[in-house]
């Protein structure tokens, strides 16, 4: 250990004297600073806009005046997806999942105003988020820092001198790993402090649960990723005869990890589990609502059945004799059937999303970048799971809200009476404002067991491999 510490000190001293390392570190730090700053600005602006819009829509809802509850159900309201404070670090899928949804009776509207719609096509290459810098550019810095860790010693002849001092290659390797890890930690300290400060300063009534645990877990995952890339770089350098070969091997790994494998997996997922177009998806829902899920029970038949059941149940001859407004019950029955149809189609769509995601999760076992990217989005609550959870909770809210309107119509108005009946502020107030909290961190952890296993296995396997190879390798050969 003492030997490794001494080697680490020497490596740090040499790295500090090498301008290239300093320049690259500065570039990474500046990029992290810019991404954090822009992330914070975007978070603040969007959060303010969302809060303002949500307040305006709530006021609109409360101030809509007296009217029939079903008209109010079509008057509807808007729900805005709140930003989580960690989205300033990892934008995740927020750019693509839309920010608001219109809620009304009969229809499950799609999320609107995806930020990506307002960006140029360049957005396809990814926005500059701090997570992106750490996931993609940080490994590049590690590669440039460590690719020659052993090859340069071999080329200079210092490795023979080092080995002749009676120290093992294992000690040398761990000294180098320690040095690079410390250098990167030092680069990251101001960045981490910046995140913590911004999280504290910008923490509006936030929707994210377990923020502290999430930050700690994010830090641990990124540390493991950085550590893993350092071990990989040192290992490749140890096995390479010359620095150029080590650099080429590591750059190839980087391209495979960050570009080729993720794109291939995404394309494979899309080919194996193709998603229907929005047009087809909407048309299928409309058709099933119209003709019934079995294609044989159109709306008119379903309503006739309902009427028959109720007349039998209440032992009356006409809907006028029912102790409630049949129109209200019919509305709710139509609504519930629509929900069932929506659940079937949304379930199928979700199943495809999950299959595509599962493929990505399995691919993360081969690719630590995919593992970290998924974990980072998950812990930052900007992933697909959080988005789906939000959509489910919004849909539940819509159903409760519409049911309240329909139930009021059924219980308090008379059959055939529509414009004569109205409700007012008390009713609108009884519809509580929508509040969202992300799933707990424990639920998130369960979703990412494969990715967490991948990071753990990659780190452990590389450590074992490094120890094995350093014990087997002589300083005179690669």
């Amino acid at each position: 250990m003492k030997t490794s510490i001494r080697i680490a000190k020497k490596e740090i001293k040499i790295a500090l004297r090498e301008k290239l390392v300093l320049a690259l570190s500065c570039i990474i730090l500046v990029l992290l600073g810019i991404s954090l700053y822009t992330g914070a600005i975007a978070y603040q602006q969007q959060q303010e806009a969302i809060t303002k819009a949500q307040k305006e829509k709530r006021e609109e809802w409360l101030g809509q005046g007296d009217k029939h509850p079903h008209i109010a159900a079509h008057f509807g309201t808007f729900i805005f997806k709140p930003k989580t404070v960690l989205s300033l670090f990892d934008f995740g899928l927020d750019t693509y999942t839309g920010t608001s949804v219109y809620l009304e009776a009969h229809y499950q509207h799609q999320f609107m105003f995806r930020p990506a719609q307002d960006h140029s096509s360049m957005i396809r290459f990814g926005e500059l988020s701090a997570a992106l810098v750490l996931q993609i550019l940080m490994p590049l810095l590690i590669i440039f820092l460590a690719y020659a860790s052993f090859t340069r010693e071999k080329e200079r002849g210092t490795l023979r001198l080092l080995s002749s001092q009676g120290i093992t290659l294992t000690s040398i390797a761990w000294g180098k790993i320690m040095a690079y890890f410390i250098i990167l930690l030092v680069i990251l300290v101001p960045f981490v402090l910046g995140i913590l400060l911004l999280s504290y300063l910008l923490k509006t009534p936030d929707t994210i649960t377990d923020l502290g645990i999430r930050i700690v877990l994010l830090g641990a995952a990124y540390m493991a990723y950085i550590f893993m890339f350092i071990v990989l770089s040192v290992l490749v350098s140890l096995k390479s005869s010359i620095s150029r070969n080590a650099l080429l091997t590591l750059l190839t790994c980087w391209i495979l990890f960050t570009i080729i494998i993720p794109k291939t997996v995404a394309n494979l997922g899309e080919s194996l589990y193709p998603l229907p177009s929005m047009k087809i998806y909407k048309e299928a829902i409309l058709k099933d609502k119209k003709d019934g899920l079995d294609g044989k029970t159109p709306r008119a038949v379903r309503m006739a059945q309902l009427e028959k059941e109720l007349l039998t149940k209440y032992k009356v001859d006409s809907v006028q004799q029912l102790p409630f407004n049949f129109d209200g019950v019919k509305m709710q029955a139509g609504e519930e059937y629509g929900d069932k149809v929506y659940d079937v189609h949304w379930g199928r769509l979700l199943d495809l999303f999950n299959k595509q995601n599962k493929l990505g999760s399995y691919a993360s076992l081969l690719n630590p970048y995919i593992a970290l990217r998924n974990i980072s989005m998950g812990f930052s609550a900007t992933d697909l799971n959080t988005s789906v959870d939000f959509q489910k909770k919004v849909e539940n809210y819509r159903r409760v809200f519409i049911k309240k309107m329909n139930d009021d119509m059924a219980q308090n108005s008379k059959y055939g009476e529509f414009y004569e009946y109205s409700v007012g502020l008390d009713m609108w107030k009884s519809v509580e404002d929508f509040e969202y909290n992300t799933p707990s961190i424990y639920a998130t952890l369960k979703k990412y067991t494969l990715e967490l296993t991948s990071l753990f296995c990659w780190t452990v396997v590389l450590i074992l491999l490094l120890n094995y190879i350093t014990r087997k390798t002589k300083p005179t050969n690669g």
């Binding site: 020497k10 002849g157 210092t158 023979r160 001198l161 080995s163 002749s164 001092q165 009676g166 002589k474």
Partner: protein, 233 residues
């Protein structure tokens, strides 16, 4: 102190070292002469455990270098033909670093004294090694051997490419260390240096030690004649 028993190294069909039997006593300077590829560096690499023998063994203080690699390296110091240090560190920093690896700790003043005693000019001590000549780097190597209180010196053509003055200084330092009981195995092409510095001389050819004698028993002319005879045969 240094001993080999039937030490052999083969690379496929090529025999780099063939059944070398050698014994070097404490305080001796054994110079191995021979053309390139004769097996001199292979012998040194085998003592350093940089390569594994095909058969036979090499021992330092009766410890097999292959089985006790770390222990045997604790007592030796190695200076290759072109001692490479860390160019962005100063001579003093390099010395401090390598001493520390061997578990030796010296003050800055002590390190400066060691470098000065090894012949390094004072104004170069705090300069980065990238500005050093080969001779200066070899002197840092000697300072390191002194600092580590090495009992064994393994030198692989250490004076190759040095100017006569630097070579002479280097030889003087070796003799100083010999007087302190340091055992040296030096591979060299320099017949004059071998005769002048060595206590024993061996001539190697195609992996075989073809001649072995004490240097006091031959004149420089005899040594040259003997060497050329073996090289021409």
């Amino acid at each position: 102190m240094l001993k080999t028993n039937g030490l052999t190294k083969k690379y496929g069909a090529f025999t780099a070292l063939n059944a070398l039997d050698l014994e070097i006593g404490e305080g001796d300077i054994f110079c191995l002469l021979g053309a390139n590829g004769a097996g001199k560096s292979t012998t040194i690499n085998l003592f350093l455990n940089f390569i594994e023998p095909t058969s036979g063994n090499a021992t330092i203080n009766n410890l097999d270098v292959n089985e006790h690699a770390l222990e045997t390296k604790q007592v030796l110091s190695y200076i290759p033909e072109n001692l490479m240090l860390y160019p962005s560190l100063t001579g003093l920093e390099n010395l401090d670093f390598f001493c520390g690896l061997g578990g030796k700790s010296y003050s800055k003043a002590e390190l400066e004294t060691l470098l000065q005693q090894s012949g390094l000019q004072t104004d170069f001590i705090d300069k980065r090694v990238q500005n050093y000549s080969k001779g200066m780097r070899q002197k840092v190597g000697i300072a390191l051997a002194r600092a580590r209180e090495a009992k064994v010196l393994l030198l692989d053509e250490p004076t190759s490419g040095l100017d006569p003055k630097a070579s002479n200084e280097f030889s003087e330092l070796l003799l100083e260390m010999k007087d302190k009981g340091v055992t040296t195995l030096m591979a060299t092409h320099d017949l004059f240096r071998a005769k002048d510095t060595g206590t024993h001389i061996g001539i190697m050819k195609e992996g075989v030690l073809v001649e072995k004698f004490e240097s006091k028993d031959v004149s420089f002319q005899d040594l040259e004649r003997l060497y050329l005879k073996h090289m021409h045969n």
